[in-house]
Symmetry: C2
Subunit: 276 residues, 2 copies
């Protein structure tokens, strides 16, 4: 069995059925899905297509975006997270990835926004437990702190998760977002001790940073991340689930999905798998 999973965002322009076919045809056994293409294909239909192809679903991306203060927008966000938990369960995925969201419009209050992430998790813990879904807080690189995720380090994600049942709230270990952290190896070990590694995602840090900094990711090996030390730390922390390759990169998105799937798998087999 291979633990490699192709995250659907890596072949962003493929619809659900194409993504599943490309993944299975490449001999990949697992796929990470995104809510938008699943919704476009229909939730039940998507679950059936994946099942018929014999694939595991490693995670569903993504919910979260709940840093705004109390009010109708916040209620809508919490409701949307509840729907996402149900979708995750319906797809048979163990994990729902959460991106916290950035500063609310006009705000400079990171401390307040971060506190509201914890408050949202408190509202969702019971739903996650009931559905058998582990929420996975994803720390994003600090260059996205104001517009995308006020959760910036693995240690901070673990602090936010700490009050909750580990079956309900875990964390994502994403190489791109956390490799720079002087404390990354210690925090990966801590995540293992606390039973909270819900997902391990691999992609590389390409330099120079792309003009759209969201798209500066690369295949493992194309950038400057040391996958050996990070992968060994994740293994030593006891994580034994699927390992997703999730790449946002315009050139990769513009390439043939079957070639991208093959290339991602080869990069994983060269740079990550030897350290398992």
């Amino acid at each position: 069995m291979s633990r490699f999973s192709l995250n659907q965002a890596t072949i962003k322009y493929a619809d659900l059925e194409t993504a599943v076919r490309v993944t299975a045809d490449a001999g990949i056994e697992s796929i990470g899905l995104w809510r938008e293409p699943v919704a476009a294909a229909g939730l039940e239909h998507s679950a059936r297509v994946v099942r018929d192809a014999g694939l595991r679903v490693s995670s569903l991306c993504r919910a979260g975006f709940f840093t705004m203060p109390e009010g109708p927008a916040r209620r809508a966000a919490v409701d949307d997270n509840r729907r996402a938990i149900e979708e995750t369960a319906a797809l048979g995925a163990p994990t729902l990835v959460l991106v916290a969201g950035g500063l609310p419009e006009g705000s400079r209050d990171l401390v307040g926004a971060r506190a509201r992430v914890g408050e949202a998790l408190a509202e969702l813990e019971h739903d996650a437990l009931a559905a058998g879904v582990q929420l996975a807080i994803e720390a994003l690189h600090p260059m996205y702190v104001t517009d995308r995720a006020v959760v910036s380090t693995l240690g901070q994600a673990l602090d936010l998760a700490a009050p909750f049942d580990a079956r309900a709230v875990g964390v994502v270990v994403d190489t791109f977002h956390i490799f720079w952290d002087p404390d990354v190896l210690g925090q990966i070990a801590r995540a293992g001790v606390e039973g909270r590694i819900a997902s391990y995602q691999v992609c590389d840090w390409n330099m120079p940073i792309a003009a759209d900094p969201l798209l500066s990711r690369g295949y493992p090996g194309d950038g400057l991340i040391d996958f050996a030390s990070l992968t060994r730390a994740v293994v030593d922390a006891g994580y034994d689930g699927d390992i997703e390759c999730e790449i946002f990169n315009q050139e990769i998105w513009d390439a043939e999905p079957a070639l991208v799937a093959a290339r991602a798998r080869a990069a994983y087999e060269n740079l990550v798998e030897p350290h398992l």
Copy 2:
């Protein structure tokens, strides 16, 4: 007395004499100098020009860039840092800003590069003490970790400084680079307790990030940083030195230096000074 200091990089295209004149004409009492324009004008001449204008020199930027392994390039880097210490003393500045440097060419070993920063500081401690100059390790935003500075957080800078006399090795608190850190207020307090705040630099985090991410800084007020909480933390930590405004921004560099000096001072007086 105003604690405001105009860092020369904010009016990058002005030569040393122009920068000094613009600063003094704006009623600013202090200036942060850079080695290249000082060298172009001559060290002794520069010191005289600044003295004749009645300005303090808050810091000299910059040395560092010593992450490479042992060999001639590393020896040259250490020698260059020693020269920079002498230049700082000759200019009457209390502080030499150090930018650590990124990964050596072809390396993905952040742990090794970070260790070599500590080794370089050990070589320089005595020179700094002898010259009466405090080296100031600057943590740079994690988006610069591979190409510019493997020191990414204030806590990491303090850990690197810890083995050395605080009169020889301190840290820079630069809002742009550290505002995102969930632990920033705690680490500023720690820096105060340890007597290591050598410099407080203010500029804002503009969004979206500029296509050249080095140039994404703005006047205080133009971006998303909360200067109130950071400035109060620096004050509470006991820092009572000059406060530099250092902005890398193409539009600001293209503007008239006198206007830039006035605008930077006004931004400081509106956003920073009320919290002193």
